[in-house]
């Protein structure tokens, strides 16, 4: 197995990402978008496209740079540090990881459109309040060469603004995965006013007519096609969440050094020192899981499930601790909207639920470890 150390190439990518994001997407950018009631930042996405990020997992033949999942995790982590608003995970990670399993010309064209920045994607999967890819009731009825979709999807991240939607539906032949334009007749998108000020929507499908060409793979292939897309997305989300946790932690330790009470910096209080040190240990453990899952997805993708769930579980848990401690150790200022820590706490909560929460992934780990 490859070593669990960030390579020089990855460090260079990290530095480049940091420079781009600090310039175009500091946390103040999220604040400005929120204040303007917007959840989509086209200029930033086009900048990312130009930097090759949209095609980070797209094969070179389809116009991508094909740098692999560990590299995608470097980008996701850096985005997490400043709460970047972008369809990167939905589009460049999840949709690409689904599409590149298919060799047909429409899928290759779809990959090309993503790498070029022509299309963004959202994954419409959840139907209940909890992630459960095994319980899909949205119906796909066969009609002629095509299908008719009826049903509802909830918590579709990036679903309010995406150009295209991947939809998992139940048919007589089993689960089917469709790739359709988001402005299709009969598809109603209702944006949610999310606590993290990011895009999510509920989607209603009412007699949405699809051609056979919009079915990915064969009928009944939905679950297996989506599986790797989900794993890639879960791992990249874990990386993003870890970046979020690292940044919240950094803000907190900076504040401990700067804030004075009783005439001394509060960093001199052992009660706070030990909690900060404990949190740092948790971050170290989680970072190992992130490095590991990147290597697994790149080198042994068929056996990455344990590594994926471990990373998502750990990252979820660590980020929640980091933001709880972040607010508490900042005291009153941490509760104010003017201060950024609240953004981190709210994003951590949403990221915890998306693509499976701690309980879901811990149960996956337990199952694979013989529980």
């Amino acid at each position: 197995m490859a070593k669990l150390i960030q390579t020089e190439e990855e460090t260079m990518l990290q530095d480049a990402a940091r420079a781009l994001l600090d310039n175009s997407a500091p946390v103040s950018r999220l604040r400005a978008l929120r204040d303007a009631g917007q959840t989509r930042d086209d200029a930033l996405w086009q900048e990312m496209v130009a930097a090759g990020w949209a095609g980070i997992l797209v094969p070179e033949a389809a116009g991508g740079v094909d740098m692999g999942h560990a590299a995608a995790h470097v980008l996701a982590r850096e985005m997490g540090k400043t709460l970047t608003v972008s369809p990167f995970l939905s589009t460049a990670v999840i949709a690409v990881s689904v599409l590149r399993q298919l060799q047909d010309s429409r899928s290759q064209a779809a990959l090309k459109a993503i790498a070029e920045g022509a299309h963004t994607y959202a994954l419409a999967l959840d139907e209940g309040a909890k992630f459960n890819p095994d319980r899909i009731e949205l119906k796909a009825e066969k009609r002629g060469n095509g299908y008719v979709l009826n049903g509802e999807k909830r918590f579709v991240v990036d679903g309010g603004t995406a150009d295209r939607v991947l939809v998992l539906a139940q048919s007589d032949d089993g689960l089917c995965l469709f790739d359709l334009a988001a402005d299709r007749e009969g598809l109603t998108r209702s944006s949610t006013d999310m606590i993290d000020s990011r895009d999510a929507a509920d989607l209603t499908f009412e007699n949405v007519e699809l051609s056979g060409d919009e079915l990915l793979g064969a009928a009944g292939d939905g679950a297996s096609l989506l599986r790797f897309g989900l794993e890639a997305g879960q791992a990249a989300l874990a990386a993003e969440t870890t970046g979020l946790a690292q940044a919240a932690f950094g803000m907190t330790t900076d504040y401990l050094k700067e804030r004075k009470q009783f005439g001394v910096p509060i960093a001199s209080f052992q009660a706070l020192q030990h909690r900060a040190a404990h949190l740092w240990c948790e971050l170290e453990l989680t970072s190992s899981a992130i490095l590991h899952v990147g290597r697994m997805l790149d080198l042994d993708p068929g056996n990455a499930t344990l590594a994926v769930s471990l990373a998502k579980a750990r990252a979820t848990d660590t980020a929640q601790l980091a933001v709880r401690e972040g607010v508490q150790m900042h005291g009153g200022i941490g509760m104010t909207d003017a201060y950024d820590m609240g953004f981190y706490m709210k994003r951590a909560r949403v990221a915890a639920e998306w693509l499976g929460d701690y309980g879901y992934h811990a149960a996956q780990v337990a199952r694979m470890r013989g529980f």
């Binding site: 669990l4 020192q273 040190a277 471990l310």
Partner: protein, 395 residues
């Protein structure tokens, strides 16, 4: 036959491309049947030394065969009794040993602690004199660090070594000396300059436990065992050449060694649990899998244990890549020992009343883990090291 360098047990392991195949064959040929039961822990292994009584002929044979080819200390240089293996090869060796349930041929503080310190700080003469007997299991070492007044504040040691020209005259008391009553030699931190700042007046000194004036008294612990002793020094003469590193610079050696010790204790979870998943522990218990609270605790612990394993792997990779682990060993020690305590709490809870008698064996292991977060620096000291030296939080 005559000119051949290898014998039945003398075999060149390093630098062979088909290392795994070769080591597997060697283990198959050489590991005695009764050393293949997968047993681990303090009671199951040979600790060596002048007074060691082998538990079986197999245990003796296993030690001798491994020592003959350097496999008691696989990564040490061949010149000092090792096999000169790389860490990747050592990993393969461990995997192959685990595959047949081979016991460790030799446990010792000489291997884990003194050896690494001598390799880094010892003179060539000291390496030649002390390392090969450690590798062969002939000399058993103990560590004289803590004192009644110097626990977490280790640099406060007061046991004195006075310069008497051709020797040191040692007086004082050590405590928590592991297996001092069974050890042949001791490496100890002694105060050689009482006027210097406390970290700068300490020397790292080696002494034969048969020296006149050394006595030991075992301490009975809550687990019923007595692995630790009090060690008394009453006008003990130690030859001058038995100082490792520079006089009054013993703290450097001690710090280096503590790093090793912390890594070792943090890896304890793997050693003691033999990598057995908690799921198996629960599955073999009466209510383990159906008790939702126990199950949830175990799942959480399993997630953290896997992340810990990867972190040990990552830090080893970093160390090999030339990036030192340094103060971060405090993290390994803190996280590893706290995790091991959680693990054994779960083992006890899953076992229920079955584990509440002394014969069962789980209770002493559970109780023993409570010392993990005290010995080698308490969890609280580790957190203070992290917050001050890594995070820069301080007064």
């Amino acid at each position: 036959m005559g000119g051949k360098m290898t014998t039945d047990t003398g075999i060149e392991f390093a630098d062979t491309p088909d290392f795994r195949k070769k080591i597997r064959a060697w283990l198959e040929d050489n590991c005695p049947a009764d050393m293949r039961d997968g047993a681990s822990g303090e009671g199951a292994n040979c600790w060596g030394g002048r007074n060691w009584v082998f538990s079986s002929e197999g245990q003796r044979t296993w030690l001798e065969r491994c020592a003959a080819v350097g496999l008691t200390v696989p990564t040490w240089p061949k010149a000092y009794g090792g096999a000169g293996l790389s860490r990747d090869q050592e990993k393969i060796l461990k995997e192959e040993m685990a595959a047949i349930g081979a016991r460790s041929p030799l446990n010792s503080f000489g291997i884990w602690m003194l050896g690494p310190a001598l390799l880094k700080f010892g003179t060539e003469a000291q390496k030649q004199e002390f390392l090969p007997p450690i590798a062969r299991g002939e000399i058993r070492w103990c560590q004289g660090y803590s004192e009644p007044g110097a626990g977490s504040d280790l640099a406060g040691v007061q046991t004195r070594a006075e310069d008497k020209g051709d020797h040191w005259l040692v007086n004082g008391q050590k405590i928590w000396t592991s297996y001092a009553d069974k050890a042949d030699w001791i490496f100890a931190l002694l105060r050689t300059d009482r006027d210097a700042p406390k970290h700068k007046g300490i020397s790292f000194v080696l002494m034969d436990m048969r020296s006149e004036g050394i006595s030991t008294r075992p301490i009975r612990l809550i687990s019923g065992a007595s692995p630790f002793c009090e060690t008394f020094f009453d006008d003990v003469k130690a030859p001058k050449e038995q100082v490792v590193g520079e006089v009054n610079r013993g703290w450097d050696v001690a710090k280096y060694l503590l790093t090793h010790e912390r890594e070792m204790i943090s890896a304890g979870g793997q050693v003691m649990g033999s990598g057995r998943a908690l799921g198996a522990v629960l599955a073999n218990s009466e209510t383990g899998l159906s008790d939702p609270v126990l199950r949830a605790d175990a799942m959480r612990t399993e997630v953290d244990a896997l992340a810990m394993e990867l972190t040990l792997e990552r830090y080893k990779d970093q160390a090999e890549g030339g990036q030192g682990v340094g103060d971060a060993s405090a993290m390994l020690k803190y996280a590893g020992t706290e995790l091991n305590k959680r693990r054994l709490e779960l083992v006890m809870a899953a076992a229920g009343s079955e584990a509440l008698n002394w014969e069962d064996g789980r209770a002493p292991t559970w109780l023993r883990t409570k010392a993990n977060s005290i010995e080698g620096g308490t969890s609280e000291v580790m957190l203070s090291i992290i917050s001050r030296r890594i995070l820069g939080l301080g007064a």
